[in-house]
Amino acid sequence: MSYGFDFSSVLPFWPDLLSGLYLTVVMTVFATVFGLVAGIAVATARRSRVKSVSLPAGIYVETLRNTPFIVQLFFLYFGLASIGIHLSAVVISIIAMVLNVGAYTGEIIRAGLDSIPAGQLEAAECLGLSSTKIFFYVSLIPAIENVYPALTSQFVLMMLMTSVTSQISTEELSGAAYNIQSTTFRAMEVYITIAVIYVLIAFALKLLFVGLGRLLFRRKRALRNLSRVRLAGTQAVAG
């Protein structure tokens, strides 16, 4: 049996794809912003010296990181419905995404906070900066700067993860594709189309994060040159 590709049958459905794309972008923006906030909170909690704060944060991170997103999604969606809480699939999807990505960004930001030398914090204290200022300008922002590449690639992965929410009938890009193929029976064409769209979004997102990084961390270039020198030094020693 030979099969002829026919993308023209997908074309009339572009408004559906566009609204799917819109929802994917909206969910990604929500999950990025709130995921970052959740990540900062989780990282701070995990580093707390108070056991009753750090332990729950640790359990949260390990639980979310060691179970599949789709199971978390089903747990929330079907679970909440079974006890009479009916939220729309989109809302549940965004909540699940924030919870999930918060665990990952929490770990990344924690690594960033750990990488700040104690001397830097002590120096800030000696200068008489307030503790909130120390937290933001001396601890958190340089920490995020240090782990910026890992953090942004996590957000790109999270954008790809939005496709899973189609499994609870969220009509983002994958959900829209599913609906289109069930009316046109042109599954291959539809899924190739949205695969291309996903690749383009991922690429645009990466460019956006690189641009944002340049804008936010002006010191970065000077730092990178410094680390290159240092790296060359360690390589010479290792060799």
């Binding site: 179970t67 978390q72 747990f75």
Partner: protein
């Protein structure tokens, strides 16, 4: 309806298939990843470039869509394949591009002087890679590779979209018949956790052991 022994058995059956599919994905992904990694570090610029573009494209497509595409793609190629093959090929694509990236990073972290010393000996390029670089790079790549194994395990949960009955799908089917979502998905989650958590811990242990030297110097 009550959760019975039959339901538990059904879920455990799915659990076994999750392990099976993960093992298959890792084996196929490992082969694909090794080939891609070699292409990505080839001395021929055009080969390097093609491999890089291929990896960027696959990394920009959600696993769910990769699985669906491999399912329909094989169908349209005129092959009537069982879900295991469709899922295996989709997962292979996914695993190989990420493993290739991890392994390339490890290979590139081997000091240049090692390559130069091998050249002086004089080993061929293939001998250098096989006898000098890979044995050292394996040790460096181990924590990330084990860490990625957790990602593979979790991603197999999406194989349900091509009709493969693994742990998540079996949980879903049981829930559809007895409607006890908290109980069923808690159990399913626990089973995933039981597989993934030890691997995560092992990955962290390997990571710590790898950086023993660096920690002492700082």
């Amino acid at each position: 309806m009550r959760f019975t022994y039959v339901h538990l058995l059904f879920i455990l059956h799915g659990f076994a298939w999750t392990i099976g599919l993960s093992a298959l994905s890792f084996a196929l992904g490992g082969i694909g990843g090794l080939i891609l990694m070699l292409l990505r570090t080839s001395r021929v610029a055009s080969v390097r470039w093609v491999a890089a573009v291929f990896m960027q494209i696959i990394q920009g497509i959600p696993v769910l869509i990769l699985l669906v595409l491999s399912y329909y793609g094989l169908g349209f190629a005129g092959l009537d394949v069982p879900p295991l093959v469709a899922a295996g090929i989709g997962m292979m694509l996914y695993a190989s591009v990420y493993l290739a990236d991890i392994w390339r990073g490890s290979m590139e972290s081997i000091p240049k002087t090692q390559w130069e010393a091998a050249e002086c000996l004089p080993l061929s390029r293939w001998q250098t890679i096989r006898l000098v670089v890979i044995p050292q790079a394996v040790r460096i790549s181990l924590p990330s590779t084990v860490g990625f194994l957790v990602q593979i395990l979790k991603s197999t949960s999406l194989a349900s979209v091509v009709g493969f009955i693994e742990l998540t799908r079996s949980g879903q089917l049981v829930n559809n018949s007895i409607i006890k979502p908290f109980l069923v998905f808690l159990l399913v989650g626990l089973l995933y956790f039981a597989l993934c958590y030890p691997l995560s811990i092992y990955s962290q242990y390997l990571e710590r052991r790898l950086h023993v030297g660096r920690r002492q110097t700082q």
